[in-house]
């Protein structure tokens, strides 16, 4: 309680105007801080990151929220927001607080290359734009035309990251097996911009989003299937603000519907004990819980078991909100808790349905050297194994 802090309404309004409309709704009950996953791990960030206090500083326009290990610690998992007694849009508040510095050109050092690559290459992985569709050669994936029903929008991660490309390929194989009328525009697509918007670079997000919206409209895209829950979020929640109205589904929703309609079946028996990690952006943010479970349990021989923290209470893999690019010491990674959780359930396969989660869970599984007892798989890969022995 040393020197006196001056309330700055100008700063409060500056934060509010950059997207934090519900900042004043918060009655400071503190539930968000107490439900935040950072409480489940030790370490310097866990001690300092207090989302309630951060929003309080914003409410009064006081300084102190901009420190990197506070402002950029939030993984935007939504655990606070979904339970907030006042329905405060906490993630929007975090995003707009980040925008106050990022918008003035002050992105944290480790994130500058990400923004640079997005500006230059339309993807955060410094991959050349021309090579975006390289993973597709030899798979004769139909291009999207006027009369194609669905556009398959593949996440940049699954375009450039070799491990992640397998996800894209298995999804394509499944869609073909189910006879889905889909096509791709991959080469001309930009990153959906979900992460960079959460990092607070509103200008860059709008540039990427507008590019995609124009591309989709030019090609008469009506329905979009996404491989990543983050793209699902962006197209469903953010793009409408820029006039991009599309019917958007995650691939698990399409496949689950087709299984119900009998258009897709899994003849191969897989004797596995599978548990499912609900990606925050598929589950909590978009309330898609059952399709992945229906698909997994449609595989003969699979024994399914729920993790303790599942569905709305799922524990984030810490990949969201740009944290996938953050350096987190071992022992402080949420993903590790997911691995130990799965091992405790005696599961031999931990399945999830998001490329970011795969990176974080693979990383944690390797870190804990649990690779021998637990296999981390993306759902489409598991489904392909059960599709046919080929």
């Amino acid at each position: 309680m040393d020197e006196i802090k001056n309330v700055s309404l100008e700063m409060k309004d500056y934060i509010a105007s950059s997207g934090a409309e519900t900042l004043s709704w918060c009655m400071q009950c503190g539930l968000c801080t107490n439900l935040c996953p950072w409480r489940l791990v030790p370490g310097e960030v866990s001690e300092n990151f207090n989302i309630r206090k951060m929003q309080r500083l914003g409410q009064l326009g006081l300084e102190g929220f901009e420190e990197e290990n506070i402002l950029f610690a939030c993984v935007t998992c939504g655990m606070c927001q979904i339970n907030c007694p006042r329905n405060v849009e906490i993630i929007d508040n975090v995003r707009s607080m980040r925008n106050t510095t990022v918008g003035a050109g002050f992105l944290p050092a480790h994130l500058r290359p990400i923004a640079g690559s997005l500006h230059a290459n339309g993807n955060p992985w410094s991959g050349e734009r021309e090579k975006r569709a390289a993973w597709q050669n030899g798979l004769d994936i139909p291009a999207f035309t006027e009369d194609t029903e669905y556009l398959l929008f593949v996440c940049c991660t699954s375009c450039y990251d070799t491990r992640s490309q397998k996800i894209a390929k298995s999804i394509v194989r499944l869609l073909k097996a189910a006879g889905v009328n889909f096509g791709v525009l991959t080469a001309e697509e930009n990153c959906c911009g979900e992460s960079i918007r959460k990092l607070g670079d509103e200008e860059l997000f709008q540039k990427l989003a507008q590019g995609n919206i124009d591309l989709f409209k030019r090609n008469g895209v009506k329905k979009i299937i996404t491989t990543s829950p983050h793209c699902l979020y962006a197209f469903k929640k953010d793009y409408p603000e820029l006039g991009g109205e599309f019917e958007v589904m995650h691939y698990s929703e399409v496949l689950a519907q087709l299984v119900k309609e009998g258009k897709l079946a899994f003849p191969e028996e897989l004797v596995r004990k599978v548990t499912f990690h609900d990606p925050c952006y598929l589950g909590r943010h978009n309330q898609v819980f059952d399709p992945p479970r229906e698909l997994i349990q449609a595989i003969p021989g699979v024994e399914f078991v729920e993790l303790d923290r599942s569905r709305n209470k799922s524990l984030c893999c810490a990949g969201g909100g740009g944290r996938i690019w953050a350096e987190v010491p071992m022992g402080e990674r949420f993903g590790e808790l997911r691995i130990t959780g799965a091992v405790e359930k005696q599961a031999d396969t931990l399945v999830t349905a998001c490329p970011y989660c795969i990176i974080m869970l693979d990383d944690a599984c390797a870190g804990l050297e649990k690779g021998d007892v637990l296999q981390v798989m993306e759902m489409s890969e598991l489904l392909c194994k059960a599709l046919d022995p080929k």
Partner: protein, 738 residues
């Protein structure tokens, strides 16, 4: 009346197997010489009842003693109408269910209970209700604010004549100064228009509702059903005869000049919430000093309230009032900077929705204490406070105005204290121990003081959770913010409730019946004035100020003011006060009816006076739960421990009974006694009885008092048995056998 008494001994519920019924019959027939005495295994059954009814109709029986279960059960079955005297001798819960069967002492206990009932019924006369002359059913409402107007309207709507007296020229009181009211109906987010004007108009719809404005109560004399009210209005005196009174004189804001730590009076633009209502009423809210439109404002909650130096209590409405006032500023200018500094934001129940809406309008809430208020050169104010939520001290940018949400003080908290002037005699103080400030509201012509007793913080509130209208002056009910800090919605409900209680009191008084808690008790105290020595004990100790004094200090009873508790009967050293069905000789004869074995039989006797409201039900519950205790006790139910006359103590001891136990309600701050200080007075009088005990060379330990509530029934055996042990140590009463 000449009584033909019949005794019916029920042998059901294990009584028959436990007692020698023939011996009991002998007690009734031989000793009691009652003309009719019957036994039956199931008197509350149809067959048993038929026998009783037959005796009543055909045998001319007009007083009945039923030896069996407690009077708390089968009350409807054994109710033979007002013309028949019914007495219940409890030989089940107090005897056979709590003592060993076929045991000599148990038998003696049952016989004594029967003897006591027979003795009692000899002295009981059917009470004739007191009928005052020219009883009226008009309600007087003092105070013409929201509560008073509502109470008057509610009474009138129920078809009762009503008189409303308001000190100011205009009706409306506090609401006249309000710009808007906090929301009282869904969705609870929009403040409502102040509808006091059409409520005032509504008063004129009722021909039997007379309104006096610019009028004060000169005096209220008399008693419920027959109050003589003189009303001073523009130097003339009007007279009204009313049946009951509702005190609705409300509360006033705390004197803000005392709040110098909040810079009131030091800076022009620190104003009170009341002032802001006034400003808002005049249109755009501007600063009184320089007329500048208010663009930024800071509300400071608990200005005076929750503060040991000022008002220790919370005034309950200020948080919601500030939320309401915040909407004025936001309505005037959505961009206005509005702060609310609070300790706890108390918007209970549905007001939470108003709190949420005000937050959504962008008002800034700061939880923490104010550390300082300064003024800049343009008379703007800078507020410094602790912001608990960031654990730091903060300072606002300059605001145009600071509003102090001052607390409320009841009008009954003002007026000088007669005691300070030494007006009441000193010896009264111990007994009376009640302050009655002269707040010039009711000006009762009551011996004990002109107003309702002044209670904690000045609010004239009931001391009971389940009986909020239990008043200290029969027929006079406080309602609204004079009674407790409350908002407008609660005042309206409170007014309607008080109106019903006022109506109820008039209806009951008209039939000569007491009010709560002894409703339907038609008896009332009668004074044998010839033996009165004007000692004033009764007029001082009556908890309800029911007895006035004439110039020679003779007691002047007012039956309709009386609650029939019997405290006066217990106070009177000359024993001149008695009720038709509850008198000193009645209890005296019950005590004498107890057979006291000689010393050598080693069968001590303990007399227990049990208060009907708490102790007797506890004894009953002990029986129902089959607890065991010694069989030396003989239980005499009394209306209140305060009605115990010291002569009973003397009679009991001189009769050879070894010890006396008073079982009654808890007294003190959170007292449970429905007659306010009955048990407290009993304890005070017991301290006086030690002189008589010393005179009789008896140890003062022979008389003991214990506080018991119905839920303490499991402690009854320990209380009774430990007293028995103590008496054993003291040895038998030397007067045995005299």
């Amino acid at each position: 009346m000449d009584k033909k008494t019949a005794v019916y001994i029920c042998t059901g519920c294990g009584i028959g197997e436990s007692l020698d019924i023939d011996a009991l019959v002998k007690v009734a027939a031989k000793e009691g010489k009652v003309p009719v005495c019957k036994t039956h295994g199931f008197f509350c059954g149809s067959e048993g009842l038929a026998q009783i009814k037959n005796d009543l109709e055909n045998e001319g029986v007009n007083s009945v003693v039923i030896a069996g279960c407690s009077s708390r059960v089968n009350y409807d079955v054994f109710d033979f109408g007002p013309s028949v005297l019914t007495e219940r001798a409890n030989i089940r819960e107090l005897v056979t269910w709590t003592h060993p069967a076929n045991d000599e002492d148990t038998q003696m206990m049952a016989e004594d209970n029967l003897r006591m009932s027979l003795a009692k019924i000899k002295h009981v006369e059917p009470p004739e209700p007191f009928c005052g002359e020219n009883m009226v059913k008009t309600v007087l409402v003092v105070g013409g604010g929201l509560t008073g107007i509502t109470a008057a309207l509610e009474a009138a709507k129920t078809g009762y004549k009503t008189v409303l007296v308001e000190k100011n020229q205009a009706l409306g009181g506090w609401l006249n100064g309000l710009h808007r009211l906090a929301p009282r109906k869904a969705p609870y987010t929009e403040p409502e228009e102040v509808d006091i004007a059409n409520k005032i108009k509504e008063l004129s719809l009722y021909p039997d509702l007379k309104v006096y404005t610019g009028a004060e109560i000169e005096e209220i004399a008399g008693a419920p059903g027959m109050f003589e009210v003189s009303i001073r209005q523009d130097s003339g005196i009007a007279r009204e005869r009313v049946g009951s009174v509702i005190l609705a004189t409300g509360a006033v804001p705390y004197d803000a000049t005392k709040l110098d730590h909040l810079a009131y009076g030091k800076f022009d633009n620190v104003i009170t919430a009341q002032k802001l209502e006034e400003l808002a009423g005049q249109g755009e809210i501007v600063r009184p000093g320089d007329g500048k439109a208010v663009q930024s404002i800071a509300f400071i909650q608990c200005a005076g309230s929750r503060d040991p130096e000022h008002l220790p209590y919370c005034s309950a409405v200020c948080c919601v009032e500030s939320l309401k006032q915040a909407t004025y500023l936001k309505e005037q200018n959505p961009e206005a900077a509005v702060y609310i500094f609070y300790k706890d934001l108390r918007a209970p129940g549905e007001y939470e929705r108003l709190y949420k809406k005000v937050q959504q309008d962008g008002v800034i809430f700061v939880r923490g204490d104010i550390t300082g208020i300064d003024e800049d050169d343009e008379k703007n104010l800078i507020v410094k406070a602790q912001d608990v939520l960031t654990q730091s001290e903060i300072s606002t940018e300059s605001v145009d105005m600071v509003v102090l949400a001052t607390g409320m003080v009841p009008t009954t908290a003002f007026g000088e204290n007669p005691e300070a002037q030494g007006e009441t005699e000193s010896d009264d103080k111990a007994a009376a121990s009640e302050v009655i400030l002269k707040s010039n509201l009711l000006n009762l012509a009551y011996r004990q003081g002109p107003e309702l007793p002044t209670l904690k913080y000045g609010f004239s509130d009931s001391n009971f959770i389940c009986f909020p209208y239990e008043t200290r002056r029969t027929g006079i009910y406080a309602a609204g913010s004079v009674r407790a800090p409350m908002d407008e919605a609660s005042c309206v409900e409170d007014a309607a409730g008080a109106a019903l209680k006022a109506i109820q009191c008039m209806e009951l008084s008209d039939q000569g019946s007491a009010v709560h808690p002894r409703v339907w008790d038609l008896s009332f105290p009668e004074f044998a004035m010839q033996r009165c020595t004007q000692c004033k004990r009764c007029t001082v100790e009556c908890p309800f100020g029911a007895i006035n004094e004439d110039e020679k200090a003779n007691p002047l009873p007012n039956p309709t003011r009386c609650r029939r508790c019997g405290v006066c009967m217990g106070a009177c050293p000359e024993r001149i006060i008695s009720f038709k069905n509850y008198s000193v000789p009645m209890i005296g004869s019950m005590i004498k009816a107890i057979e006291v074995p000689d010393e050598d039989e080693e069968k001590p006797r303990i007399l227990v006076f049990a208060c009907e409201n708490d102790a007797y039900p506890a004894l009953d519950m002990a029986g129902i739960n089959g607890l065991r205790y010694n069989s030396w006790v003989r239980i005499v139910p009394v209306r209140c421990l305060g009605s115990i006359n010291l002569v009973w103590i003397a009679d009991t001891l001189s009769n050879g009974i070894d010890g006396i136990l008073l079982l009654g309600c808890k007294h003190g701050d959170d007292y449970q006694c429905h007659f306010v200080k009955g048990s407290e007075l009993a304890e005070y009088r017991l301290s006086k009885v030690s002189e008589t005990l010393d005179r009789l060379s008896l140890e003062s330990d022979r008389v003991r008092m214990e506080e018991v509530s119905i839920v303490d029934y499991d402690k009854i055996p320990a209380i009774l048995d430990s007293f028995a042990e103590r008496l054993e140590e003291l040895g038998p009463n030397p007067y045995k056998g005299f």
